[in-house]
């Protein structure tokens, strides 16, 4: 039994069910005048059939058992969690605090998470990255980076 296939198949089946329901609400129309829900509905049906095939495939596999946890064995998955947490926090703070301070904080955190170097190395590296990115994107390319309450 392949638990990975079973889990992923179930995920796609749920997506398929949701899409088909939503499409029915929109209206699939008729063949000579397809409605807004026509393509999403049939795409959802195809997705559902394929999801069932994946579940069946997972159930039929006999040789060995592929566990979900094996995917994260022997790898540094903690770093991934920290990176994602910092990115979501960054999105929350960016519009309020502004690009320079928020991004400096993010860079310091990411550089430290990637490899625990000395604090001053991390701070200097982050400062250089911010300076170059600000000059390159905001000044040279005129990208509108958020200013926040501090005005920068």
């Amino acid at each position: 039994m392949d638990l990975r296939d079973l889990l992923s198949g179930l995920f796609w089946l749920v997506i398929s069910g949701f899409v088909c329901l939503e499409s029915t609400r929109l209206g699939t129309g008729t063949l000579d005048y397809p409605g807004a829900g026509f393509i999403p509905f049939w795409s959802g049906v195809i997705l559902g059939i394929l999801a069932i095939l994946v579940i069946v495939r997972g159930g039929l596999k006999r040789k060995g058992e592929r566990r979900i946890t094996d995917l994260w064995t022997g790898v540094r998955w903690g770093k991934v969690i920290w990176i994602l947490f910092s990115l979501f926090l960054y999105c929350l703070l960016l519009p309020t605090i502004g690009y320079i301070i928020t991004t400096f904080g993010l860079m310091v955190f990411l550089l430290y998470v990637m490899d625990r170097s000395k604090v001053w190395i991390v701070a200097v590296s982050a400062s250089i990255i911010i300076l170059v990115s600000y000059l390159g994107f905001h000044i040279l390319l005129d990208a509108k980076l958020p200013k926040g309450v501090f005005g920068f």
Binding site: E22, G37, I39, L47, V54, R57, V75, D115, I129, P146
Partner: protein
């Protein structure tokens, strides 16, 4: 004569200082990301896409094209010196390229990869010049049924040619089409799957999806790994292959060029598949197949030529029919739309500066790449030593800025992160992202052409079989689908028989 005039006109566009600069930037960045394992050309193109908003469409496509074909050159360096492919299309080069390096022949391996890429790239551009105009003429006869059939064929071929499970690739294709439906329905104007969120009324943007799936997810996967790069300590005496090397390689280069170009033209073909097929072909026809995997120079020359000519071929369906043949072309398609240019049969007529300018810049770019990739190899080796702990946060920052700058909205950054998580999980559960992105880009065209065809035929699907071009393409698609299913069934049967024999 017409083509000659057009080429001269193209060169007059290509050698403008701005376009020369962007061509150089594109091939330089392309070589850089080709050399560095971790992020590939698709992720890089998606990151650079928002930066092209402020430059002319010609310069934008010249630069992005340079990134694409430039990465094919750069990828071979890491494959040969480190035994890790710089990007996916150079996986096969590791097999014989690294062996050659271990035998003290890194120079000829790097040389034949660069020269083979140059020859194939140049011949591929010649092919593009001569095939594009007639195909554009044919494209003028296309109506909604023909467009629907070609797009369907493209999606079918992608699943047929995917590395992993066909079912998984089909799932990603279906999901891509569903994602493309989010937003306002183009015919009825009603919101679809927007969850009462105003930011989703315009649909999900291509840039955050691409950056998330190919940029952020790649970083997350790489950050988990613990292995370090070890560069082979070898002295590179000369980059020039010997006369014997050229005799062995000339056939492989020409065959790789033709195979790569044809695969590039077909919707669904991509440089990764081209390089694998070329390697397989060379091994099959070689008089000494046992030498493959042990330093056979044909095993480097063929695949490296194929992946380069494929990049030229890939522009053919994009420019002439307006159909991107792979994920990178899907992003180019997005770039053209952002600049208000609709690729298709009228592109040659309405924007000859773009078409011929890009072609001429590809000639110029190939020359630049030959110079960048041989004498500057020692510099690229130093680049490989840049710690990944510095590189990854910079790439994440570029992804954030790129996503934000699409509409100056934090929602797109959140979208990018969500797709980064999805891309990371897709890789873990063995689902490829390329079919998703291609289906996402082709989805709106598929839907519009299908609905228009059904309206024209009063709901009859026979319209796709009554029109000859459409009928031929649909039949070929069905053959490919049937062949995939039969192959799947036979593999399963073989596995069951082997399992019973073992018992």
């Amino acid at each position: 004569m017409d083509i000659l005039h057009s080429i001269f006109y193209g060169f007059s566009v290509g050698i403008e200082p701005t376009n020369l600069l962007f061509c150089f930037l594109g091939v330089l960045v392309g070589t850089l990301i080709g050399v560095l394992p971790g992020i590939g050309p698709i992720g890089t193109i998606s990151i650079l896409l928002p930066l092209t908003f402020r430059i002319s469409p010609v310069s934008a496509i010249i630069m992005l094209a340079g990134v694409y074909y430039g990465s094919m050159y750069g990828g071979s360096t890491t494959s040969i010196l480190v035994n890790i492919p710089g990007e996916a299309a150079s996986v096969v080069t590791c097999l014989d390229g690294y062996e050659m390096a271990k035998q003290g022949r890194a120079g000829p391996a790097l040389g034949i990869a660069a020269f083979g890429s140059f020859i194939a790239g140049t011949l591929g551009i010649v092919g593009l010049m001569f095939v594009a105009a007639p195909l554009a003429e044919l494209g003028l006869r296309f109506g909604p049924p023909e467009y629907f059939s070609v797009i369907l064929f493209g999606m079918t071929l992608i699943t047929y040619l995917s590395h992993g499970s066909v079912i998984n690739a089909l799932i990603m294709g279906a999901f891509g089409i569903i994602l493309s439906c989010v937003g306002i329905d183009p015919i009825h104007g009603s919101p679809r799957m927007t969850f009462n969120t105003m930011q989703l009324w315009d649909g999900v943007d291509l840039v955050p999806i691409a950056m998330g799936l190919f940029g952020v997810s790649e970083i997350l996967i790489n950050v988990e790994q613990t292995e370090n790069l070890e560069i082979l300590k070898t002295k590179i005496k000369s980059f020039f292959p010997t006369a014997a090397d050229w005799i062995k390689s000339k056939g492989a280069i020409l065959r790789g060029t033709l195979l790569g170009f044809l695969l590039g033209v077909l919707p669904g073909g991509n440089p990764i598949i081209a390089s694998f097929l070329s390697y397989g072909l060379e091994k099959r026809i070689s008089k000494e197949p046992e030498k493959f995997g042990r330093g056979a120079i044909e095993g480097v020359a063929g695949p490296e030529s194929a992946n380069n000519s494929c990049t030229s071929g890939a522009f053919v369906p994009l420019f002439t029919l307006g159909i991107p043949s792979n994920a990178a072309m899907a992003l180019m398609f997005g770039a053209l739309l952002i600049h208000g240019i609709r690729p298709g049969p009228f592109l040659l007529k309405d924007h000859p500066d773009l078409f011929w300018g890009v072609i001429s810049s590809m000639y110029i770019g190939n020359v630049m790449l030959l110079i960048l990739n041989l004498p500057l190899i020692p510099m690229w080796v130093q680049v490989l030593k840049v710690p990944r702990r510095i590189l990854y946060p910079i790439i994440i920052l570029f992804c954030i800025i790129g996503s934000y700058c699409v509409k100056n909205n934090i929602f797109d950054v959140v979208t990018m992160i969500i797709f980064g998580i999805l891309g990371y999980l897709f890789k873990k559960f063995e689902y490829e992202s390329a079919p998703l992105i291609l289906a996402f880009v082709l989805g709106p065209m598929l839907e519009l052409n299908l609905r228009q065809s059904l309206i024209l035929s009063n709901g009859s699907f026979l319209i796709f079989f009554k029109r000859p071009i459409s009928a031929v393409i649909i039949i070929i698609s069905l053959i490919f689908i049937a062949s995939s299913l039969i192959s799947l069934f036979l593999k399963r049967k073989k596995r069951n028989i082997q399992g019973e024999l073992i018992k």
